[in-house]
Structures are given as C-alpha cells and as structure tokens.
Amino acid sequence: MTLATEPSVTEPAPPEGADGADTGAPSIGGAPMTNFDAPETPGGRSRTRVVVGHLTLAVLGLACIFPIYWLYATSLRRPNDVYEVNPLPWPLSVDSYRTAIDEIDVLRLLLNTTVVAVLTALGQLLTSLLAAYAFAAWNFPLKRLLYLAFVGSWLVPFQVAMLPNYVLLHQLGLLNTLSGVIVPNIVSGLGVLLLRQHLDGFPKELLEAARMDGRSSWSTLWTVVVPNLRAALAALGILLLVNAWNEYFWPALVLQRHNDVLQLGIRSFMSSTEGDDWGPLTATAGLACLPIFVIYLVLQRHVVSGFVRSGLR
C-alpha cells in the first residue's frame, strides 16, 4: 500500500518548505511517514495518525487475546487460587494439568485428534492435488461442469447431508470409529480450487519438457509438479490441518457416545462437572489449542495468508 507516494510530485511547488522533512524520506525504516493530505497539515497530523493506528491495533489486539490469556492463566494457577483476579498467575502450578490428564485421559484424546486431523488433511491434500492436476493439465469433455461441482460443494452444508451420511456410515459399520470421522472428509472443494489456481500459473514449458523426455503424466506429477508446488501444498496443508483439528460437527455425530477426540472430550467435561472445575477444564482447553498455536507461532505468515486467500472453507 503506497498512499505515501508524494504529493509534492503531483502538486507543483508547495509553498511550505517544511514539507520537505517528510517528503525527503518517504520511508524511514520501512514505514512511510507521509500521506496524500500532507500538504494541508504537514508533519504532525500524519504522526498523530500513526499513533492512533498503533493505539487502535494495540487495544483490539489486547481485547482479542485476553480470553486466551485468561484461559492459560487460570490453568496455571494453584487449585485454590483459581478464583483469584490477579492477572499474573503466581505461584505457578501444573496441578490442573495433572488432574486433567488423570480424569479424562487428555493424552489419548490428543493422540486420537492428531491421527484424525493429520490423516484427514493428508487425504484431502492428495485428492485435491490429483483433481487439480487433471483440471490444469488437460482439456476434456464436461470439464467446466465437473469443476463447478467442486466449487458448488460449499453450498451444501454438512447439516443438510448429515442424515444420509449417518445412515451410510451405519451400513458400512463405521459409526463410533475414528475412520468414520476421517473417511467422509477426504475431499476438499477448497483444496481443488486453490491448487488449480496455483497449477494454472505453472510454467507449461516444464510439463512439455517432461513430455518430451517421454515421462508419463504420473511421473511428471511427482517429479516435476509436486517439487515446484511445495510451498502451495504446505500452505494448504496447514489450512486443512487446522480445520480438521477444530472440526466439531462431524465427530459429534459419528462418535456420539464416545468422546474420543479433544473437542468432544471438553464438551463432556463441561457438562459433567457442571462447570465448577475451572482449573482442569481450562487446562484441557489449553492443551486442545496448543498444537495449533505452536504451528501458528512457527508459520504465522503462511497460516494467515492461507486463510485469507481461501476465504470460505
């Protein structure tokens, strides 16, 4: 965003020579200090707006982060201090985590959830890659219609499809199993869309060269396309992983009486303790979010841009 390209260029000879202080250095430390109405109110006003901007973002950031902070703060207090209002949890204690692990076997839930999320994301990634490759590399009858089928899939919410899928899972004997959570989910319309966009921008010369070498389309996919698509695949993979990790509706339907994944474990914990056991409850919730937060910490930029570019799930 460059609102800062200077008015002094477009407006011939502004009388205020003072303006030069700003115009001379449009980007100090990567942060342009001027803007288009600078001629009327040089210097000060623009700095005020920078300060206002920082304040706005800081206040909003704190408001957004507070519940998450409070979650971990509560989980790290000693059991008797849970009702303290001191914002700093001190002295620290991991008793709540110990209770959570004893009472609802959080570690098993973490493992189950990891298995479900990773397999779902990998399955979605694979089916999306193959489909996107087909759309990007060939012309074939019904191409537009079939592509529309993927685009339109987001208009069919899970809730509308839930009963027939439930019946089919019952017939397949997959109700109350982790496979029942994974299998119906290993297609992602969004994945196909995003990967196709990437593949359409893929240099065709590379594919042609591979063809000339006499490679099959299958070997071209794995030796030429995938290595060049690594960044896009990683970004999409993270997105799908986060979605699969946080999925609630489908596990709740398939695993009705068993609380085999974290999301359901927390829910049953909430209802069974009548919400008085705040320490262990917040500890469990904190653990449920932790893997995603760690991924976010490491790959922040990719996560945000992945979600923003994808928009709809």
Partner: protein, 325 residues
C-alpha cells in the same frame, strides 16, 4: 488453462497417414481409436478419487435428503419408511419452531455484522499508517481467536461469563446469568462467535484496503477532496467486493455454522429455545427426535433458502460493486 497435454502435439506415432480405403487398415484404425480413448480417460482417472468422494458424501446425500423428506421414518434400520407425500413440509411450516429459528438466525447475522464489517472497516481505516513488522505483530494477535477450537472457546467463555466468579461479571459488577437467560444467552453466543471471526475480517479488510490503487486518492486530493470525501466516495466503494465477501461469509457460514459448536456445548439451544438457530433446529429434529422426514424437509428448505440468499447477495454485489481495473 488450456490443456498442456492436449496442445502439445503428441509424439507422432509411426502410423503413416494413408488413405483409409486399404482393407488391412481397419484393425489399425481400431487400435488407434483405442489408444486415443485410453488417452482421453487419463484426466478422469486423476479426478476419480476427489469426485467419487464428492458424489458419495455431498451430492448423493443431498438427493437422499430430498427423498427422505417425503417419508416418515425414525432412522431405525428395522423400521420401514412410509411415504407421506408433502406431510413433512406441511408439519414444518405449521410448527412454530421454524419461524423462530429463522428469526434467531437473522438476529445472529445482524449481531455479527459489527464484528465482520463495522469494526474491521473502522480499524482498517484508522490503522492504515501502521506498516511493516508492527502491523504483522498486531495482526498475529488479532487473528489468533480464529484458530481457537470452538469447544475450547466455549470452555473459556463459560468461565469468563460464569455468573458469580467470572471475570466479566466481576469487572462490570453485573449479576447476569449469561447462559440461562433468554437475551443474554443469544447475545453471548453471538458475541463469542464475533470474537472468533473478528480477526479474520480485520485481516481480510486490511488486505482489501492495501490492494486499492492509491492513484485515485491522490488524484482526488489534488482536486481538493477532503479525507472524509475520499473515504466515502472512493475507498469504501472500491472496498465493496471485500465487504460483500464478508457479508456472504457472515450469512452463510459464521451465523448458521460457526455458532453450532458453541450452542451445542453452552446452551443446547436454550434456555427454552432462545439460541436455537436453523442448523441447531435441524440437529434437534434429526439427531435428538429421530424424525428423519421432518429434519430432511427442514434441510431441503434451508438449502434452498440459503442458496437463494447467496444468489441475491451475489446479484446485488454485481450491481453495486465497482471493479478497480
């Protein structure tokens, strides 16, 4: 886009192009045809896994749902489904729940718009001067709630909004029993969902603002337009595609779907049915009352309803948005 494998001339096979009249050619043409057919099948083979899953788990159930809606069935494998014609639809439209759930979904949509439109736009405009590292740092914080697992957020908000010891009531000195009173429960569910999606909307609006070409604003400012005039008549109209996208997300995704885990774990649609929105009603009909016919009728109605809303919103957006190109 144009098929890379199609356009490239296939390595010429050692089949000379000869007059087809020769008798012995028949076998060869057939073989050539088979080879061409074989090549034609290739893209479909790559499509099979994804397309198969899509058909089995998305489009087949959609058709089945429409089919179920004309039967009376309690989902039990031993119980036969009996055809009842339009009875389920008749029941659906005479029961009071449908109207109520649509109304509450509408209230949730309205309640979410400040989080997905108003605050993001105001914040986006106020913070345009913040750039670089500082900006990504703030965005990282603001975006974080979007990644919090919905049930984990239900847990922490149950604690924050706990009537006697929760941080919110202690800080404000109020004694509202958030999840057990009608309006507070609806407000709480909407507010928590808003907290989840706010960061997403802020980042999307910031990206939208950043993509607006600054030449227009400069030209307008040269012509003597005030800052407010530029915002009102240039920036906001150019931002409208982004805003339409956010409205669409709010209507189709955030209000009906993102609320679901929160409703299910915090209020179960209550008190009475103060937080039962359309999809929670569907869930109650199908999974709690085992009324497959009624639930499917509701599913068909909601599918068509949301489809129409999406179409109308897209139509409006085509008419009002100004494309910057």
């Amino acid at each position: 886009m144009s098929g890379m494998f199609v356009e490239v001339a296939p390595p010429t096979l050692p089949v000379p192009i000869v007059a087809p009249a020769a008798v012995g050619d028949r076998g060869r043409t057939a073989r050539r045809l088979a080879r061409r057919l074989g090549r034609g099948v290739v893209p479909y083979l790559y499509l099979v896994p994804a397309l198969g899953m899509l058909i089995v788990w998305t489009y087949r159930p959609l058709v089945e749902t429409a089919n179920y809606s004309f039967y009376s069935w309690n989902l039990s494998p031993t119980q036969p489904a009996t055809p009842v014609g339009w009875d389920n639809y008749h029941r659906l439209f005479t029961l009071p729940e449908l109207g109520g759930s649509v109304w509450r979904t509408l209230l949730m949509i309205i309640g979410l718009l400040p989080f997905t439109i108003v605050i993001p736009v105001v914040v986006g405009l106020l913070s345009r001067e913040v750039r670089g590292r500082a900006r990504s740092f703030y965005q990282a914080l603001i975006f974080l709630p979007f990644l919090v697992a919905p049930v984990a957020s239900a847990a922490v908000w149950q604690w924050l909004l706990s009537p006697r010891s929760g941080a919110v009531n202690r800080a404000t000195g109020s004694s509202v029993n958030w999840f057990h009173e009608r309006w507070p429960a609806l407000i709480a569910i909407t507010g928590i969902t808003g907290w989840h999606v706010l960061g997403f909307a802020v980042v999307v609006v910031a990206a939208g603002l950043a993509s607006i070409n600054s030449d227009y604003a400069e030209a307008a400012s040269v012509d003597g337009a005030s800052r407010w005039q530029i915002t009102r008549w240039l920036t906001l109209p150019l931002l409208s595609p982004t805003l339409v996208f956010l409205v669409l997300s709010t209507v189709l995704l955030f209000a009906p779907q993102w609320t679901f885990p929160l409703i299910d774990s915090l209020t179960q649609g209550g008190p009475v049915d103060a937080t039962t929105n359309v999809y929670y009603l569907l869930w109650e009909y199908g999974i709690q009352s085992f009324d497959a016919g009624l639930a499917s009728a509701a599913g068909v109605v909601f599918f068509i309803g949301f489809g129409l809303v999406a179409a109308v919103l897209l139509w409006i957006s085509e008419r009002v948005t100004i494309h910057d190109d």
